[in-house]
Subunit: 187 residues, 2 copies
Amino acid sequence: MALEHAILVSLLEQPGSGYELARRFERSIGYFWNATHQQIYRVLKRMESDGWIDARDVPQQARPDKKEYSVPALGRAALSQWLHEPIEPESVRHDLAVKIRGAAFDDPAALIREVERHHRAHTDRLAHYLAGERRDFTGSEATAGSEPDAGRELQHVVLRGGIAYERMTLAWLDDVLATLHRLGTER
Amino acid sequence: MALEHAILVSLLEQPGSGYELARRFERSIGYFWNATHQQIYRVLKRMESDGWIDARDVPQQARPDKKEYSVPALGRAALSQWLHEPIEPESVRHDLAVKIRGAAFDDPAALIREVERHHRAHTDRLAHYLAGERRDFTGSEATAGSEPDAGRELQHVVLRGGIAYERMTLAWLDDVLATLHRLGTER
DNA sequence: TGCATCATGTAATCAGTTACATGATTTT
DNA sequence: AAAATCATGTAACTGATTACATGATGCA
């Protein structure tokens, strides 16, 4: 139950419409939390009626009007309360791991292509993260005399987590491939 | 939609009751897929009526009777079909990352305790995995002449994935703590 | 006597996914 | 002329969580 809170964080970082939020959930925020536009619109409505967010109609030239949402004090308070509640360290839900164990009862070699596909997807994601890091987080560390921007630093440490995750995953997928190949040739 | 398949894999590795499955989902399988007993019983019923699993009543001495489930050909076929379907590389859903970005709009220092709590939990989990690895996967690699057991090898590579994940997470949490401390002292 | 473990379930609710729907503008 | 992008939604369904419920045995 934290889609609400993810939306609050995203709107605090930058106010925006439901559509814009949906696109952010495909990019930055979506790296560690994903949601479709249908879900987002439904939750936005609930949040608005709870007073967690404010809506403002923004007429646009040559585009449909949009509702821009922002976060008032009540929303900030709701976020703050959640931040102070402990959450459980999550357990991962890893379909691929189920498939790998399942391969013992099928043809292990048939999994190789699937694992390679995942390997490519994670390679792409890593490249994407690294490009984002170069774009958004280089240079200013060296800029002397600038105040340390907490938001920026925190966004960066989360991104470093994503990068570490992708690197770890790629190394593991190499291990999986080596294991599958070994099982394929050793019989 | 893969709880069914996780159950099939678990029952193929070892037939058992709903209760036993629920406990396995707290341990081995649950490391990468979790489910409660309520969910498991419901899904078992559907799977039984679909012919994916067979039930056998097992009377026990000094214990309530149990239903032991096993996997007939139809269930194996269902698993095999799923194994051959491609799945999407999953996006993680990481509450803690949301909290870290949210800390920019609250007191970053207040998160330190929470992050430390997670650090301890992951340390415990890593120790648990390593103990399991020592228990189940040492020695026989060196045993010459034994046929390579595909199931064992595949379980081991999945466990190595869990170990790699925990190590990566611990290193990242150290990074997060260092960042939070830096933000706390630098102002 | 009370608590933990073994064993199985129902009911209600909440969250998430998939399918369907509309309509304007801009790009190919 | 067709496809992509911007923008917002409803409806139906499936999956997951939480609360409630029962009843035996074994241990402290």
